[in-house]
Subunit: 349 residues, 2 copies
Amino acid sequence: MDDVADAVGVSRATVSNAYNRPDQLSAQLREEVLRAAKKIGYAGPNPTARSLATSRTGAIAVLLDTNLSTAFSDPALSVTLDALSTVVDPEGHALLLLPGDGESGGPRAERILAAQADIAVAYSLADGAPALSAVRDRGLPLVVIDQPHIRGSARIGVADRAGAAAAARHLLELGHRRIGIFSAQCLSAPRGGELSAAEAGNSRFHDNRERMAGYLETLAEAGVPVTDVPIWEASGLSVEGALPSAFGLLDRHPRPTALLCMSDLLALAAISAARHLGLSVPGDLSVVGFDDVPPARWSEPPLTTVRQDLAAKGRAAGELVLGLLRGEKTPAPAEVPAELVVRDSTARA
Amino acid sequence: MDDVADAVGVSRATVSNAYNRPDQLSAQLREEVLRAAKKIGYAGPNPTARSLATSRTGAIAVLLDTNLSTAFSDPALSVTLDALSTVVDPEGHALLLLPGDGESGGPRAERILAAQADIAVAYSLADGAPALSAVRDRGLPLVVIDQPHIRGSARIGVADRAGAAAAARHLLELGHRRIGIFSAQCLSAPRGGELSAAEAGNSRFHDNRERMAGYLETLAEAGVPVTDVPIWEASGLSVEGALPSAFGLLDRHPRPTALLCMSDLLALAAISAARHLGLSVPGDLSVVGFDDVPPARWSEPPLTTVRQDLAAKGRAAGELVLGLLRGEKTPAPAEVPAELVVRDSTARA
DNA sequence: CAGAATGACTTAAGCGCTTCAGAAAGTCCA
DNA sequence: TGGACTTTCTGAAGCGCTTAAGTCATTCTG
């Protein structure tokens, strides 16, 4: 920048103004500065130095629970992050991805401490993930998505419990009584197998707990004893990882006539497993998903599921980010609704 | 940092060393410094200031062609980026996502100029995307994936042409002569419809061109006139966007008996369309994909496709990044192989 | 036509760290 | 016992920018 200034014969401040505050100098001088910069091969202010001076980095740290391919194999994340990115992009913010370390339920604390970002967005991290304390230690503003509310941070979530209850009610109304629950990864050390109700209720993931509670409460109210409800945990977040547990659920005697699945991915895996076993869906088995990701609509059969407006959730998170960055005070925790969408994967018992 | 130094009664340099070069001070003084920092509420060196002093940001800019949900709806990207991330993460590098602007075939140039990153990785951008010149202007090292080689930058690609040729040969050997090509988005202003061979050959995306050439060359050599081969472009990268064109391809008289699809996603869309039309795959229609993404194995029927080792590609890109960051000189362009995987979506004509 | 207002630049003080070249003190060995 | 090393810590010069405050002409006002 000094070189450009010298070349034009002005001060460094003027060159800076040419880039940042065009109203501070005459249009022609600005042109001259820009021309000299181009000639010299100066591509504009160094972003890091600018950040140091302005204490703005233009990046939003996105804290993930898993590695990237697992994270993005869930369309719910893609849609949410895309909506978030679309909101913040015009303001010049980019997303800095911090994948989980595979153990602590989030990225390592030191990654947070070293990340260049103005704010952190945590997406469905495990309760008490060290990454969250690191965010606080650094004094970074925080937006959490699908996690318990943390004092001092903004939160956007989903009506998980109500949605799950609606799914359970739907199956009950269709006359199902032998209902299995297909849970997402839930234990600290996921083993991918049958879970006790206690284990299932103590997942370290907030949305798991809520959905589980919604299912079990509703079933119990209808007189289906919780002890009669088999609960299996998937051993991984991908369809592949889920298949063994899906087979486990369907391999019981008596076999469940319906499955409550904590995500569409799990539901799709369940349908795939059923097909392999020669069971027809929904003839022999009804399946309900959760999320309503795009593939749910195109699956065979189209999936009955609990729809949450993922894009709205992402946009809301984006607005929260922008608000906090503007210095506005932390708004109250918010929730997007969840509603049952009945398609063709469920039928009368 | 000065406050911590004062509290302990040492110089700022010593505090810095406590964090960065523990061998430069006695273990007990280091402990004392760290304790004082904790007490004062100092979370460690400010990342931006550290970056300015070291001229290292710890971030890798990932340049994408589309928005995030489109980008990540392609498992090929997720797998590749995950592998890349897994390689660079232990070295403390995170990924900074720069989505495309929807027009120029990449992110806006100013985003590149303002991004805090040590290096850029471009993933299948359109030829001549302004983002690429911006990278050069800034003097950032560059690794390109699935793009034409750019002087001075590292490149990793796939044997697209050979893979496409193998796919075409497979169909020919099964006796197919009425073969359609289902192309990915290819025009600057994708309209999602039938393409002339000239249009198809001039895609602004390198891998499109290569795959198309591989298909057409092989068909021509076998005596199938290019003019007899219908080529349709998908209008978007998602399954939803692809369906209309899939119907278009299948709505012809005479109907193709086989489809060469430029990606597994397109192949899946084609199978879905065929099902809606009451056609059996592979009975009435053979379908070949490209990429061999995880869902290809679980589809109904499992997909015959061209496998590329996406994880290896991502890892290779990661190694290139690390090498360039270490200051090693740019290695020669490299390619991962592509090989046909025959599953159940193809059969004799 | 004096004094206020405006426009166009410059000065200089940071932003919060890293790191190299010492200085001071302690250790070793012939 | 004194010179050569080590070890441990400090001083100070940056890293490349932004921006509040200030200077100096010019242009308006009444």
